[in-house]
Amino acid sequence: MNHDSYPDSYIRGILNTVKTIAMVGFSPKENRPSYFVFKYLMERGYRVIPVNPGHAGKEVLGQKVYASLPDIPEPIDMVDIFRASESALPVVQKAISLKPRPQVVWMQLTVRNDEAAALAEANGMKVVMNRCPKIEYGRLSSEISWIGVNSRTLTSKRAHTLGKGVQRMGLTHDTVQGGTTAATDIAQKKP
């Protein structure tokens, strides 16, 4: 997989397949990005299990926080890594040892570790790096278009709503590539 640029079909496939997500590096503080993503994904119907040894045993929005991936007593489909890039490798090593093995390793925006990615891929897992699942869900569902963000998609198909009002939308309608943001992609690669 080319980790500089993911086809929308790859991201959509992952977000349409996984159901249970373990979030490593979760923060219970309401103004932190990981809390945003945690809450947003739960509201979109995913089961999200927070992982943070400093908050193990607490409950946040009804979800129990675990100290480490092996402590989670149920199968996980995807591990979402909210840690510095250099900390991604040991998380991936733990993820590989889980039974059953998760299908996806996802590293958040600004997190990229090519060694960890290669290890995960060699063990049959799909990898996404330097992306946010909330932004990607918002982009592919068109929800993010409500705040003027270039979703980089075009479609003549209607999005379906998830119920509970019209401001939550699903991912089942198809889209094609829209306006690209080459300049920002180049800028992100600079130190």
Binding site: G148, R158, G165, Q167, T181, T184
Partner: protein, 428 residues
């Protein structure tokens, strides 16, 4: 390449970007959501929206689904990460600077700008403690010399009003990068059809949508486009973006929103608190205009070149300033930045001076004598007797509004009719 990954062309984006079928009704044209407010799904949803934890609609001063289509449309056409629609081009500039500047800060601006912007920067901004330092786009070293530790941004126009000036965006972007500040480009006169400043290093693009993007002279509007290229946290110079915000319980916008954080800052700190929201009805009219942008802009440019060539042969005309003319001072820059055409706004000088200018604007029958530009209709103004009349003759010349100067905005009428009207007015 798989079909889903083909990159669509400009005309396709002009029609489709941002405009998805309405999720509830299936409406294909963009509906005009003429409402102040939007009901929440439940209390928790309301809390998520107010905390910026969910994407969605609250109140039209902060965002509106019709305006959002316009935002995504222009962002996509410019190659930016996000847009923010706003009440006018002037409001766009205020909200951009509000996100960047603290009292006592400076920004560098090209002295070849729309007169209204020169006025706004020189006078209105003083009340905020934002200090403009002028530089000359014909001498890039003046930008370099103007940089100080207080500099927070550089502001230029791609094609500069009153027309006939092409700015070397890439050279000034190099100065901005070296200074560690964002480059803001007003792309109103070029539109993304002729020039995409982000491709040349712009970090922020602003527009008056009132002009060619709307294109029909019926709606005032503005736009801010975030290129997603600037690192707001690197030098910690931009507290609106890199510091915890008390307005949002300590959230850091750059950390939370990544490469579209600037557009979010303009929305949730600028538009929300300063209040210049765009009406959804105006957004609808401007969107309809943008659908034909590529067709209109090419015709505007082709007509303008024909008129400029015709004027340059006339005995009554002393000079014509249009970069599309082969011998023009800006011809080389025009070939680089606006190869499809040099826009439709330009100036020319009358040998008969002030009186000839007054006579010309009085005698036209098809051209409209008014202060706007970028309309389907051809427009004319004699700045010395109107917009710049309170200045001394020396000040008029410096502002590009000498007594002999006439500004045209060439419309979409038949070329022969545009020329015939100028001919009868010049010889009447």
């Amino acid at each position: 390449m798989a079909d889903a990954e083909r990159i669509p062309g400009f005309a396709t984006l002009s029609i489709h970007a941002g405009a998805k079928p309405d999720p509830t009704t299936g409406a294909r044209a963009t509906p005009i959501y003429q409402t102040t407010s939007f009901v929440f799904d439940d209390v928790d949803h309301a809390a998520s929206l107010f905390g910026l934890q969910a994407f969605g609609n609250i109140y039209t001063r902060i965002g509106n689904p019709t305006c959002a289509v316009l935002e995504e449309r222009v962002a996509a056409l410019e190659g930016g990460t996000a847009g923010l629609a706003i009440a006018s081009g002037h409001a766009a500039q205020v909200v951009v600077m509000h996100a960047l500047m603290m009292p006592g800060d400076e920004f560098i601006a090209s002295k070849k700008l729309y007169g209204g912007s020169i006025n706004q920067f020189n006078h209105s901004y003083k009340n905020f403690g934002w200090n403009v330092v002028w530089a000359d786009p014909d001498d890039i070293s003046t930008f370099e010399k103007a940089v100080t530790p207080k500099t927070k941004a550089i502001f230029i126009e791609s094609l500069a009003n009153p027309g006939g000036i092409v700015t070397d965006i890439e050279a000034i972007a190099t100065v901005a990068r070296k200074a560690g500040v964002p480059l803001i480009v007003d792309n109103t006169l070029a539109t993304p059809y002729l020039c995409k400043p982000i491709d040349y290093g712009a970090d922020i693009v602003v527009h008056s949508l009132t002009k060619f993007l709307g294109g029909h002279g019926n709606s005032i509007g503005g736009m801010i486009v975030d290129a997603g290229t600037f690192n707001w946290s690197r030098d910690r110079k931009y507290p609106m973006l890199c510091e915890p915000r008390p307005e949002y319980s300590g959230m850091v916008l750059h950390e939370t929103f990544g490469n579209f954080a600037f557009a979010i800052a303009c929305r949730v700190l600028g538009l929300r608190d300063l209040g210049p929201a765009l009406s959804p009805f105006n957004a609808f009219l401007i969107l309809t205009g943008i659908e034909t942008l590529s067709l209109r802009m090419q015709r505007h440019c082709d007509n303008a070149l024909a008129v400029a060539e015709w004027l340059s042969q006339r005995p009554e005309v002393a000079w014509v300033s249009y970069p599309g003319l082969a011998n023009d001072k800006y011809s080389a820059l025009a070939r680089k930045y606006v190869p499809k055409g040099s826009g439709a706004v330009f100036t020319f000088g009358l040998k008969g001076g002030y009186d000839a200018g007054v006579k010309l604007v009085s005698n036209v029958k098809l051209f409209s004598h008014l202060a706007n530009i970028g309309d389907t209709r051809s427009l004319i103004i004699h700045p010395a007797s109107t917009t710049h009349r309170q200045l001394s003759d020396a000040q008029k010349v410096q502002a590009g509004a000498g007594p002999d100067v006439v500004r045209l905005s060439i419309g979409l009428e038949d070329r022969n009719d545009i020329v015939a009207d100028l001919e009868q007015a010049l010889t009447a």
